[in-house]
């Protein structure tokens, strides 16, 4: 194989292929900015598909995230979401969910209130926008419909009985049943992604409906683990509903799960079709910052790749994604060695109690930015006029406890792209 260096040029380089990186590319495309994007997209498969804006604060679960944001601006002025206006957050969320819907993955429009969505354990999770395949659960629970939850022999980690046992106090009409999946019912392990791809075939849907139909009895709705197709879930969902004659909803399974795979495959297929030069399996090895822009170096199976761009958005995520790294006594940013806001020493990273409602200090560590979303260096000044940062990499937020992961990713990507576009086009 001949290995030769290749060069790409774009106005904007997006580094990172998680939710923030993907949102950044979509927002840039919407502005007519040419985009190159690099970063391993694997971690997207760990999302549930639910898009949270702000689901939890010190009072507990949040009903009205827009009201909660007003309080957040008072209480946590350094929080990334406190530094984006309500209008911008709405515009970002609406634009993002519309883009997903237009690309073939239907999402509910972000509303005035959070909804309580189902989890694989039968607990509830406040979220703002959810896939259309999951939406019918909300109305079915509110109406207290007699509902059947079905799981599958060999599908490890998803138990309809568990969902029912944990939800039935709130939703008494729930009932559980287990069936074998058509043609995969030997008892051996089956995988959600395989079932999802199988259900894209009409004949399999027909067979599944024939197995479920007789179990419905008085049930007015049906819940399934999230297996309704990978590429055309809305179509699979509609078809199954019409075969069964009742509303059907999906419940996310333990990640990595189908809803995340859908997002990953959607981005990996559609972004290049829209003109994004996407390298979803590789990481930037080195980033050079110079007066006129940035140069990223990476290596794929065919050799070295160089990307030149007029500006860059850094959305490399936290520890799991590799944007931050924890040495035994200090946290560092891995690509540019940006300053990291962090507790003093490892003894202060975690509280003694795992579930302490105040959360752990390490989760609020991260990269600090100025009002232009430019990350700061050790002197407290922007590291470079054309480098911007977005997503969970940012300091002063705890997306895990505040249930604001998608909110931070989408809102800050929107702002960072805005600022980066201006910088890129300032000549």
């Amino acid at each position: 194989m001949i290995k030769e260096p290749r060069r790409h040029q774009a106005e904007l380089l997006v580094i990172g292929s998680g939710l923030a990186g993907m949102a950044a590319s979509l927002f840039a495309l919407a502005r007519g900015v040419s985009v190159a994007q690099v970063g391993n997209s694997g971690v997207i498969a760990f999302t549930t598909g639910y898009l949270d804006l702000l689901g939890h604060d010190e009072r507990g679960f949040v009903d009205d995230p827009w009201q909660a944001l007003i309080r957040l601006r008072e209480d946590e002025p350094r929080h990334p979401l406190a530094n984006v206006t309500e209008n911008d957050i709405r515009a970002a969320f609406t634009s993002f969910t519309q883009s997903l819907t237009e690309m073939g993955l239907g999402y509910t429009a972000p509303g005035a209130h959070n909804v309580l969505a189902l989890t694989p354990a039968g607990t509830l999770k406040p979220t703002l926008s959810l896939p259309l395949t999951m939406q019918p659960a909300i109305a079915a629970m509110a109406a207290g419909l007699d509902t059947l939850i079905v799981d599958f022999t060999g599908l490890n980690g998803f138990s309809a009985r568990e969902v029912v046992a944990n939800l039935s106090q709130r939703w008494p009409g729930l009932r559980a049943a287990r069936i074998g999946f058509p043609d995969m019912d030997s008892g051996a392990e089956v995988y959600a992604e395989v079932l999802a791809r199988a259900l894209e075939v009409p004949a399999t849907r027909q067979l599944l409906a024939e197995r479920i139909g007789p179990l419905l009895g008085s049930a007015q709705a049906l819940g399934l683990p999230a297996i309704l197709g990978v590429h055309r879930p809305d179509h699979v969902h509609r078809e199954l509903q019409s075969l069964l004659g009742v509303p059907v909803f999906e419940i996310p399974t333990m990640p990595p799960a189908v809803p995340g795979v859908r997002l990953r495959e959607l981005f990996e297929t559609r972004l290049p079709q829209c003109g994004v030069a996407l390298e979803p399996q590789h990481r930037v090895k080195r980033l050079e910052l110079h007066t006129q822009g940035v140069t990223a170096h990476l290596e794929d199976a065919y050799g070295e790749v160089t990307i030149e761009a007029a500006a860059a958005v850094l959305a490399t995520g936290r520890f799991t994604s590799g944007g931050l790294r924890a040495d035994p006594n200090a946290i560092r940013e891995t690509l540019v060695n940006l300053a990291v806001s962090q507790p003093e020493g490892r003894a202060h990273w975690y509280r003694p109690d795992y579930f302490d409602p105040r959360g752990h200090a390490i989760n609020r560590s991260g990269v600090m930015v100025d009002e232009q979303w430019r990350p700061l260096d050790a002197t407290g000044k922007p590291a470079h006029p054309r480098l911007f940062a977005a997503g969970s990499l940012l300091a002063h937020q705890d997306w895990i406890r505040q249930r604001c992961g998608a909110g931070v990713a989408i809102a800050t990507a929107y702002k960072a792209v805005d600022a980066a576009t201006q910088a890129a086009r300032s000549g």
Partner: protein, 543 residues
């Protein structure tokens, strides 16, 4: 305010009530059962919840004590030989090395073989080069090395086998989550023990002819409930850390007076680096700290340099219950590792005995001496049989051995036997066997109980994922049928966290980040109230 229940609750009758489900208490249970005596064993938590589950699993050759405590050293040697013969399946006779590195006192090193000789411990000198050939992980700065017959022992398996054997022999019973509240004493005899089920809060009464206090670190409290103040213990907290892969083939000891980070013990597929020593005043909330972990790593590097770059998956702490002779040593490092059997007759009790102090290696001997006393008091003339009777191996008990579940699963090739714990390859069939028949399965099994009886939660993910899959399986089997099952899972992962947080850096930290995202952001376990339900929410509605 709830009124204190006045009814005695269910009444259990037995010949011997044993308090404390560690290696000693279960050892006494088996010892007595082998003499034909029925026992009832209780523990306020579960098997091996104290020091028996919080140690490095070292079966001492005695080398560690040869210099300071020749009696204990010789006792360790004798007991080690017996256990290797009667319980080979619980033991890895891997051997051990004592090595001195530059900076360690050469005189201490030079006297080591002589100390071993006088304690009867086999000890052969090898060159530093030979030592590094046997254990390539050793520092280049080794200047003296000796081989000793150290071994490792699985304390969970020993405990489970003890209980299981006693159950088979005399239908003896183990009750977990049963806390002693008070004794009813009449005319110098304990008539009954009033206990509380810590999960339900219900009272129960146990009537026994003899009562054995084998409560380990809690033995002093139990003795005081019987009005006995002669048992004086020093609590010495020890912390260890577990690597994600085995580092040395043998036990590697640093040849110097005992100190932090001076021993690296293999434990099947992993290694354990220990041990700190810190005197503590009370037994509540014992967990490892970042400072202890850092000290262990810093000291361990001198012996095995790769420790500096090793991924550790968990830290844990135990409390050594050390005997304190009145006015004697209060330094945990120097206090005696010997044990004592108190017959409490001088304190006016005719049917109470306390066995305290000692070590994992000498648990059988402690049980023998206690058994002799109790049997004599019961008029039973059967001799102790534990030194010669092999420990049987039960079906529901094999799951604590690292690697066993994986071999079992692969050999069985049963397609429907799903793997629930991927790190340790624990299949559904193992969980089912434990739920049906492991010691303690008479009561409701929980994730916590299964973890004590298997490798679940002990691998790289430290229970982050497998806890959820096992939970789903327990709901499937209807072992769980309410939100209390999920609460148990919450408590389990909260407990694992205490061991993971102090070693969370480098490659291990993302594991913890992912776990927290799963447990809190997705499942909302942080929002569960104690009845397992989610707290009343202000949030969420139908759009």
């Amino acid at each position: 305010m709830s009124a204190r229940p006045t009814s005695p609750g269910p009444v259990f009758e037995t010949e011997v009530l044993i308090i404390g489900g560690g290696t000693t208490g279960t050892g006494v249970m088996r010892d007595l059962a082998l003499r034909g005596i029925h026992c009832l064993l209780i523990d306020q938590r579960d098997l091996n919840a104290g020091a028996s589950g919080g140690n490095h699993g070292l079966l001492h050759s005695g080398g560690r004590y040869a210099a300071g405590d020749a009696d204990t050293a010789a006792e360790c040697r004798r007991e080690g030989d017996i256990l290797k013969a009667v319980a080979p399946e619980c033991i890895d006779a891997c051997g051990g090395l004592f090595v001195a590195v530059e900076g360690d006192d050469p005189e201490f090193a030079a006297r080591f073989p002589e100390h071993c000789r006088s304690a009867g411990i086999e000890c052969s000198a090898i060159t530093p080069a030979e030592a590094r050939e046997l254990e390539p992980c050793l520092s280049e700065k080794v200047y003296a090395a000796y081989k000793v017959p150290d071994a490792t022992i699985d304390p969970f398996r020993i405990t489970l086998e003890n209980v299981n054997h006693a159950r088979q022999l005399t239908q003896s019973i183990f009750l977990a989550h049963t806390e002693l509240e008070r004794f009813i004493v009449e005319e110098g005899t304990i008539r009954s023990a009033i206990c509380r089920d810590t999960r339900s809060g219900d009272t129960l009464t146990i009537r026994a002819r003899q009562v054995v206090n084998a409560a380990g670190a809690w033995a002093m409290q139990v003795a005081r409930l019987a009005g006995c103040s002669g048992v004086q213990l020093l609590y010495s907290k020890g912390t260890l850390i577990i690597s994600n892969a085995r580092i040395g083939r043998r036990v590697i000891n640093r040849l110097r007076p005992p100190g932090d980070g001076d021993i690296l013990v293999p434990g099947g597929t992993v290694s354990l680096l220990g041990t700190t020593s810190q005197t503590v005043e009370n037994l509540d909330d014992i967990h490892p700290s970042v400072a202890e972990v850092d000290r262990l790593v810093a000291e361990g590097c001198a012996l095995v340099p790769q420790i500096a770059h090793t991924r550790f998956i968990r830290a844990f702490s135990g409390v050594r219950p050390l005997l304190m002779a009145r006015g004697a040593e209060t330094d945990g490092r120097k206090a005696s590792r010997g044990f004592s059997l108190f017959d409490h007759e001088s304190e006016g009790l005719a049917n109470f005995a306390t066995v305290a102090g000692g070590k994992l290696t000498t648990f059988r001997l402690m049980a023998e001496k206690t058994g002799d006393l109790v049997a004599r008091r019961l008029g039973n003339s059967e001799p102790c049989k534990t030194a010669t009777t092999p420990l049987p191996s039960g079906d529901a008990i094999r799951w604590t051995e690292p690697g066993f579940a994986a071999r079992y699963w692969a050999a069985r090739r049963e397609p429907g036997d799903l793997i629930l714990c991927e790190c340790e390859m624990v299949p559904t069939s193992a969980i089912d066997a434990i739920v049906e028949n492991a010691p303690g399965a008479e009561l409701q099994m929980s994730l916590n109980a299964i973890a004590v009886r298997s490798r679940v939660g002990k691998g790289t993910c430290q229970g982050a994922f497998c806890s959820l899959r096992v939970t789903s399986h327990l709901y499937d089997r209807q072992v769980y049928d309410s939100p209390l099952g999920l609460r148990n899972t919450r408590d389990f992962v909260a407990q694992r966290f205490k061991g993971v947080a102090p070693v969370a850096w480098g490659e291990h930290l993302p594991q913890l980040e992912l776990a927290e995202a799963l447990h809190c952001a997705l499942l909302g376990l942080d929002q569960l109230t104690d009845d397992g339900l989610q707290s009343p929410t202000t949030g969420g509605r139908v759009p």
